[in-house]
């Protein structure tokens, strides 16, 4: 990386065996290679994505009519609980950090592996053990508490497999923590020569910020779940109102984790999108430093806004005011990021490959999700719309429109790097466009229903809302088809796809300076870094090697 950043990979390195070379099962299950662990996580979360998606499909089918058709109320309640638990803890939270973070962080900072490779594979094993508890609770008959496990319903009234589900989430939490500890230490101690903090790609910054949130928030969820498990299994009264327990205590502890958890889901997505937009606009990210500050700001302030989930829960009015205020403050850095992505397109040289379509889709949907976030940060509006479909639509815009779009964007962007194969570009673009429209089709009607007073978690609903539910379900079927498409054309590319060159997108970044798929040790010699990320202007003007303006 001493001259212009698009030079070819050294010949000698190309002859190294790739990380995919060994084919035994144990070489996968007990690997210590961060790239293989990323692939292991990818298979696990793909499995859970389709389980959660199947639950959503059944719910949307049931909701086509206002009456109970083929599901009993108890079955419906188990389905939305399953959808929430699986999608939040077994897909969204691990998705980008454990798959792309594991695969890319060491390569992006020029390291051979993460700081603690053994802890890394342990993290996948712990995830698998936790997941099997949850799968058990599903097979055994499901859980009907909602993914929020509110007490005293979950501790005293629910007659379902709360313990197994909570244990599954509790155990999986340790996997998240292990991953977070690993990434923080890796980014602190593993950066190659010349890779200063402000030369890190924004994806690395995003994973760093999210790891801090993981390490500090997840144990609080663990303590809440531990108390629920003790109360259910050992009958220790902690949240029991009859002995003087506080029904709101659990909610405070739970949301102290679960609001930052929203940022665990969306911060890595922001990192992925920054990489993609810079690459396909052939331009540096506008305001790089401000993007970094914005992510740190979101991670930090995100810890102090949990009370906005509880405006009608019975907390003090004055507490609500403070939480409302802080929620507006935490929205500022998110808005800045949207402006910066848009401005990064200015004077670019833009092409529209599939990853870019996903990234632009992310910016649009995240903007709508963020703006409706302002609605629910306003106490008078939130009192009306909380626990209605308005909130459902809002957070799906952030998590599905935002995080899942970014996940697919990143998947397509780094697919040639991870597999060494190219996919069918036309099919990928079609899937991206279908996901965007299918998504809006599914969730925009829910804003309208929500403001009209359609409460969430209702199987049987007032018939006036039927037209909107039908629209939403129709959109969901488009979305379902779109989500299946990558399974086929990416699967096809694995075996029959054209071989990928080391840097098919002509992107900057150290992960592209090594063959696709990369060799076991990533680099032949630890690379040296001499300038900031996103050095795309050198492409037009090879003489221009000045440090890129990072907005100091």
């Amino acid at each position: 990386m001493t001259d212009i950043p698009f030079d070819a990979v050294p010949e000698r390195l190309s002859s190294e065996p790739s990380y995919l070379e060994e084919h035994t099962i144990t070489s996968w299950l007990f690997t210590k290679d961060h790239k293989r662990i990323g692939i292991l996580f990818a298979t696990s979360i793909t499995f859970f994505f389709f389980i959660g998606g199947a639950a959503a499909t059944l719910m949307r089918l049931e909701l086509v009519t206002p009456y109970a058709n083929f599901l009993s109320p108890d079955e419906y309640n188990r389905l939305f609980t399953l959808h929430g638990i699986v999608m939040v803890w077994f897909f969204l939270i691990p998705s980008i950090p454990t798959v792309m973070g594991n695969f890319l962080i060491p390569m992006m900072i020029g390291a051979r592996d993460v700081a603690f490779p053994r802890l890394n594979i342990l993290s996948w094993w712990v995830f698998t053990i936790g997941a099997s508890f949850t799968v058990y609770s599903l097979i055994a008959g499901g859980v009907d508490t909602g993914w929020t496990f509110y007490t005293p319903f979950s501790t005293m009234f629910s007659n379902s497999h709360v313990f197994a589900a909570a244990a599954g989430v509790f155990i999986t939490g340790f996997s998240t923590i292990a991953t977070g500890v690993n990434f923080i230490t890796t980014i602190h101690t593993g950066r190659t020569e010349g890779m200063t903090w402000f030369r890190l790609p924004l994806f690395v910054w995003a994973i760093y910020a999210v790891s801090v949130v993981m390490v500090l928030a997840t144990p609080v969820l663990a303590s809440a779940l531990l108390m629920i498990m003790c109360e259910r299994m050992l009958h220790l009264p902690i949240f029991n109102p009859d002995t003087g327990g506080d029904p709101l205590l659990f909610q405070h502890i739970f949301w102290f984790y679960s609001h930052p958890a929203v940022y665990i889901m969306v911060l890595p997505a922001m990192g992925v999108v920054s990489e993609i937009i810079a690459c396909f606009a052939r331009r540096t990210i506008f305001g790089y430093r401000f993007m970094v500050y914005a992510m740190i700001g979101i991670a930090a302030i995100g810890f102090f806004v949990w009370g906005h989930h509880m405006f009608v829960a019975g907390q003090s009015n004055y507490a609500s005011l403070v939480f409302s205020f802080l929620s507006f403050i935490v929205a500022v850095p998110s808005a800045i990021k949207v402006f910066n992505w848009t401005a990064s397109l200015y004077r670019g040289r833009i092409t529209f490959e599939a990853p870019m379509l996903y990234a632009l889709g992310f910016v649009g949907l995240f903007t709508i999700g963020g703006l409706t976030g302002l609605f629910v940060a306003m106490i008078p509006i939130d009192v009306h719309v909380t626990d209605t479909y308005f909130v459902i639509a809002h957070f799906h815009y952030i998590m599905v429109g935002g995080s899942v779009s970014a996940f697919f964007g990143g998947l397509h962007y780094w697919w040639p790097k991870a597999t060494g194969r190219l996919y069918h570009e036309g099919a990928a673009r079609l899937a991206a466009i279908m996901m965007f429209f299918g998504f809006n089709f599914t969730f925009f009607p829910q804003f309208i229903m929500g403001y009209a007073g359609m409460p969430r978690r209702y199987e049987i609903y007032p018939p006036v809302f039927q037209i909107w539910h039908v629209l939403s379900s129709a959109g969901a079927s488009v979305l379902a088809v779109a989500y299946f498409m990558p399974l086929f054309y990416l699967g096809w590319s694995l075996f029959y796809g054209e071989r990928s060159p080391p840097n098919p997108w002509r992107a900057t970044g150290l992960e592209w300076k090594t063959p696709s798929p990369p060799p076991k040790e990533n680099f032949l010699v630890p690379p040296r870094v001499e300038h900031g990320p996103y050095f795309y202007h050198a492409e037009q003007d090879p003489g221009d090697l000045t440090e890129i303006d990072t907005g100091r």
């Binding site: 029904p247 829960a313 800045i336 302002l374």
Partner: protein
Amino acid sequence: MNQLFPFPPEASLESRGVDMLYFAMVGVSFLIIVIVFGLIVIFAWRYRAGSAALRTRLPAFFSREVEIGWTLATLLAFLGIFAWAAGARQVHFAPPENALNIRVVAKQWMWKFEHPSGAREIDALHLPMGVPVRLNMTSQDVIHSFYVPAFREKQDVLPDRIVTLWFTPTELGTFPIRCAEYCGTDHSLMDGEVVVVTPAEYARWSERNGDRGLPASGAQRFAALGCAACHAARSGIAPRLAGLFGSRVRLEGNRTVVADDAYLERSILDPRADIAKGYLPVMPSYRGVASSEDVSALIAYIKSLRAGGKP
């Protein structure tokens, strides 16, 4: 109600303000979405690969100035919206005086309402139009949430606690009540309706369904539950109840509180929450001892005691 856009009517004093805020925010959001999407589309077109647009580098200072500019602008705009929303809510902080107090008991999966007149109803709530109403709500099992979309009001109902919600109905008619906090199997069927009638009609309705003997029945229960032992006129163990209702009570910890319906109910069910100044916390909780009907009757009885009266 429009079939295609089933927006609930604005049927309370509070609902108009909520809708104003909401539609103003819809306008603001629409504007921002047009700007952001518009810029993305314009840039995507103008700077597509191969177009002849100018692409020289921006001056070094540019990024920093722009960043600080739009950060401050966003911050100020958001603070403005916060101040507006907070101001709109703040008028709702203090409960209205002379409100009609109604006790609400939620349980899986029904709503029970008890009026001051002693009238009781299930899954239906008669209210007079134009009169501030205060609901003193508690749950007997899990958390529920009392939600009337037409009033734009919602409040979670907690087990073993009394939470209050107040509003003023302004339209005659029938409006659905829904449970908004997931509460188990029949959560989606835990509904009811608010029937808003004219004050005169409400008075007649209360007359017809009420229980004139409620204070008297309260007096009997007062004796039967053993309250009189401590709350007798000269006992000195417990505060006198005559003239208590509506007065300001000094509490331990130098707080004062107005003895309203919610205070009386809390003092019966959770006596240690508010200890009257100068008394020891010796009263046991009557939760589970006094039934919901007992509590209504006791409150009616205490309200009927005038200053200088017997206990």
